[in-house]
Symmetry: C2
Subunit: 322 residues, 2 copies
């Protein structure tokens, strides 16, 4: 029987190899080094893996090497957003290493991100599929990139805005984080020849998984120390990012007084306040509800080992420790 | 008989209307306003027009509305590069108005540029053509975006580097400016069903036209006052940008001493020095040679009114006054 953790490892290695093959260090080498910086620093490759699993769940006989370029395209889009987001958020570390703009400079990081963006669409064009599917995937990926921009725009606009509602937050996260998961799952379905309603179900699963992932991320940001997370604990709080946790707290009269120069003890204290207000627990409950609702959509697919793995992957999104 | 200037006007209006239709101001309105800021401030739309003319030169009966989305995609890519380049160069005005990052902020301009980038690929997917051509255009446009990034990377690296050779400069400009013209012409050919060698000739014309355009741009930057150009005269000199003019001057022992706080009189003096050294004339001669070489490639195409217009357009690139 297939094991999720083993399958994740095998697929991650496949994706890692393909990333190296498709984004080679050529002239001008330093540009490609900057573009590859975060990619090479690791990553769980959950988005491309979701694409591959979704395709297998629809058609167990699909040749994954045919559709690997589409999976790589998804990971490249994700990495382009990381590089540009780090510029905008002025973050200095990610995955425990320097961010691209800190190591190379802001103009250089901007170009490195733009290069990954272009590479994503170039690599997509190498997917082996019929041309109709290719056009569908192209349009889906492009629209997804527009949505990500909208999400990032709202994320910045919401900073330090204490009026943001839970619904507005969910809408922001849906765009910023979830659509790329949804696009991955849906593209896997398209490339495997799924029916319209199956593609829709995979999209919905992706949205649920993506929002769940982000809520879990927000939780981990405030409860996990640097050594495990690779970035400063509580960085969202310090940056004034709106998260489900903070929104819940604000709506329950909690006063958080966080200055940019807050100490580790100050963060500790803020976390305790959020814990006591039930805000962290509330966020976890909402994440679980979303994941369960997303999983229920998969009833449209035939039962199989791969489908079971997809459902496990959905759970993993909100259970992971980093 | 068709008249180039009249045809340019008609096609520009078509492209302008399509740009409005494809990039609508929807939620979040301010993001789309930022994305549309430079587009709405005007522009000659030479790149999309080149695509349309190239298509007509290959197939006079082509329905231009079918391929208008591809032309719009080219203009969107161009505009995304303007927004990001202005951030990198810290330019405060373009087309006589504030740049996007000055009006909205750097993170916002970064996202506005990213949005145009995504929109370009989305709009490309609306082109009415067979799927094989679509994949060709997708790959070509994506590779072109990679090349533009390489060109911009080199442009920044060359700043204030007095060792840059003419060949390195041409290579930089080919990537930064010319490939998008080449892609436009080649895509027009592809969509009109051109043979491989015709597509190659159109590509070569585009490269020549693009480099010629950039050299003319460099000349105009130092000889044209703000009222006509819409940006500060001599801004390239002040930023330490390497241009064919400066490279020629440096190779002929000319000493240019330009500080960031240089006065209008100082610029005037520098221009006179470059004039006396024959550097401006040299740049113009090289541009003319390139354009003539590009035009000669078109001998592969059947003579027609449109072909004559293409040749006239090539000349216009280096004769224009702004």
């Amino acid at each position: 029987m297939r094991e999720l953790q083993n399958d994740l490892k095998v697929k991650r290695e496949c994706v890692d190899k393909a990333l190296k093959d498709f984004v080679r260090i050529t002239f001008p080498e330093e540009l490609y080094r900057a573009a590859r910086h975060l990619i090479d620093s690791g990553g769980k490759r959950l988005r491309p893996i979701l694409l591959l699993l979704a395709a297998e769940a629809v058609n167990p006989d699909i040749d994954l090497t045919d559709i690997l370029p589409a999976a790589v395209a998804i990971e490249l889009v994700h990495n382009f957003t990381l590089v540009h987001d780090d510029i905008m958020d002025e973050d200095v570390t990610r995955h425990g290493i320097e961010t691209v703009h800190v190591k190379w400079g802001i103009p250089q990081a901007l170009i490195a991100g733009d290069t990954l963006y272009a590479k994503a669409f170039e690599v997509l064009s190498y997917t082996k599929t019929n041309s109709e599917n290719m056009v569908k995937c192209l349009r889906l990926l492009a629209k997804t990139c527009v949505d990500i921009c909208i999400g990032q725009w709202l994320d910045i606009r919401f900073e330090n805005d204490k009026q943001v509602s839970e619904q507005e937050y969910i809408e922001m996260v849906e765009n910023k984080t979830a659509v790329i998961y949804a696009a991955a799952a849906a593209m896997g379905g398209i490339l495997a020849g799924a029916k319209e309603e199956e593609i829709r179900a995979l999209w919905d699963l992706g949205i649920a998984v993506g929002i769940g992932f982000q809520i879990r991320d927000d939780i981990l940001d405030i409860i996990t120390p640097f050594e495990i997370l690779g970035k400063d604990r509580g960085s969202d709080l310090v940056e004034g990012k709106m998260t489900l946790i903070v929104i819940h707290a604000l709506h329950h009269g909690v006063k958080l007084d966080i200055k940019p120069d807050i100490t580790e003890e100050g963060i500790q204290e803020a976390v305790q306040i959020l814990q006591n207000a039930g805000s962290i627990g509330y966020a976890m409950t909402r994440a679980t509800e979303l994941i369960n609702s997303g999983k229920s959509k998969l009833s449209i697919l035939k039962d199989s080992d791969v489908k079971r793995e997809l459902l496990e992957l959905a759970d993993y999104m909100i259970e992971r420790e980093y």
